[in-house]
Subunit: 300 residues, 2 copies
């Protein structure tokens, strides 16, 4: 058992699932001194987190949680985060103004939901996840080498940003700052649309007369893995980042049509060039996409 340090920030997790549970576990593994408190709508998840030792306390009284915390982490899908945020900010102003951060995969929708001016709110998004969900899937190494994007504005309290950065550094992540609009456009392309096309591919295979999915190999394993992701979270992401997702889906459709044209035209040279450029581009991003691989390959 780590003993509680009265000077170290007490962290509250509002909702305990895959992402927040992994962060709580990572804090514990890092020797983070402050207590970790869990609050949330699903008591079994909280109790599971307590049994696993990734949180120290469960508290079902949100006022008390805010009063006792230095840093409040909202761990919920986008819609639930946006629903909870106004109440959390109101209570936070009332009870000692803890730093508040969230982990939702869209930022514009969340920032719009934060109707109250609260300079200690630091919107965040860890680029890590899993097709599994729930605290039972939590892994304390989930964020190691992964990027966490923060979207503070000129109004955001710099000390609040520093505390949120300390939190994620303890989990082994690296930090990037972006504007809300850039975050939502970039993530629509790098994460949201890859999920949509994985879903569409899976649905296409499910409808196919030959049931081709049963002949899948490693390629199909990887291309459909994220189609087993949390349906509620991805419904929320698709709808709350709707414009950017639709724009990126259209960009992908246009690219897919162009590639289809090369095949229809039997353009052997064009196809080989296309595939070669993709290979180069993908290999240039090996290190950022495979941080765990870097760990394994690094000289000890």
């Amino acid at each position: 058992m780590t003993s509680s340090n009265v000077n170290a920030p007490v962290v509250a997790f509002l909702g305990l699932g895959l992402i927040s549970g992994s962060l709580a576990g990572a804090l514990r593994a890092s020797g983070w001194g402050g207590d970790r408190i869990a609050w949330g709508p699903r008591l079994p998840s909280l109790e599971h987190g307590k049994r696993l030792g990734i949180v120290d306390h469960i508290c079902l009284d949100l006022d008390e949680v805010l009063l006792r915390s230095d840093l409040v982490v909202i761990g919920a899908p986008p819609v639930a985060t946006a629903e909870l945020l106004p109440e959390v900010l109101t209570k936070a102003l009332q009870y000692g103004e803890p730093v508040v951060t969230d982990m939702a995969s869209v930022k514009g929708f969340i920032v719009e939901a934060a109707t109250r001016h609260y300079p200690k709110f630091v919107p965040g998004h860890p680029i890590a996840g899993s097709e599994n969900s729930g605290v039972e899937a939590a892994r304390s190494d989930l964020f190691r080498g992964r990027e966490v994007i923060l979207t503070p504005t000129a109004d955001t309290d710099p000390e609040a940003v520093t505390l949120v950065e300390d939190l994620w550094s303890a989990a082994g992540a690296r930090m990037t700052h972006m504007s809300v609009a850039e975050h939502d456009a970039a993530l629509a392309a790098s994460s949201h649309v890859p999920h949509m096309i994985s879903y569409a591919l899976t649905a296409m295979l499910g409808d196919h007369a030959l049931a081709p999915m049963k002949h899948g190999g490693g390629a199909l394993r990887d291309m459909t893995r994220i189609a087993a992701s949390d349906p509620v979270m991805w419904r929320d992401i698709a709808l709350t980042n709707r414009e950017a997702v639709l724009a990126a889906m259209d960009a992908l459709s246009a690219e897919h049509d162009a590639l289809r044209g090369l095949i229809a035209d039997r353009d052997a040279e064009g196809l080989e060039q296309y595939f070669k450029q993709c290979r180069v581009l993908r290999r240039e991003h090996d290190a950022v996409l495979n941080p765990a691989l870097n760990d394994a390959e690094a000289p000890s």
Copy 2:
């Protein structure tokens, strides 16, 4: 060193790359008694295979290779396989009629190229691969638990089929028989189009003003891994299975458009249902898509 068994089938590999090298290595690991001979256009690959011990001999004289072999495995991309096949079958008729098989990812194009009637030709396709290529990427466990599809016809010699099945069984694979047309349609959907959409996604990200690929996580890692695949092989597959690939690309586009419609219409319930069905479908195929996982999780 395994000692050569005069009664065990001698296997020749025409071309030594990732797939054929992995099969040669798997045979060696299985204790396959017959010699393994390598022939091919790239001497360094053959020499590398010899140094690795996955083949016993190198021979650059194709007539001699066919004369000495009981089973000839053509390990080449579709176009090279189709170019080599008529010569191989002609020589095979001349030199003791060894069984001949191939490993190309398309079968209609290959069967059409086999202009000569040769009942001991057994078209095959192992559903395994890697984004890496070349004999240096060979892994003797590449086929463990994976499917190998054979497409014999009523004309094919049953004993030839049995020998090819023995070969793949030694590598730990499981066998399925299909018609050529079913193979090409099913694989267009389960493998070829997943590669095309991975390429299109990678190209879209490469063209994007915000360079979103650098913000990718595990989802993007998996969705773009196969975009680093061998450009020549995938050019060949796209063109030699052109009709089936175009049909499956159109089916995927239609599915992608339908999903786009749900998002554009803000159909929350429709999206959640769509994603839930995909999750169920993907989980039903976990075992076939993750044979290695099954190994790891099986009670010892």
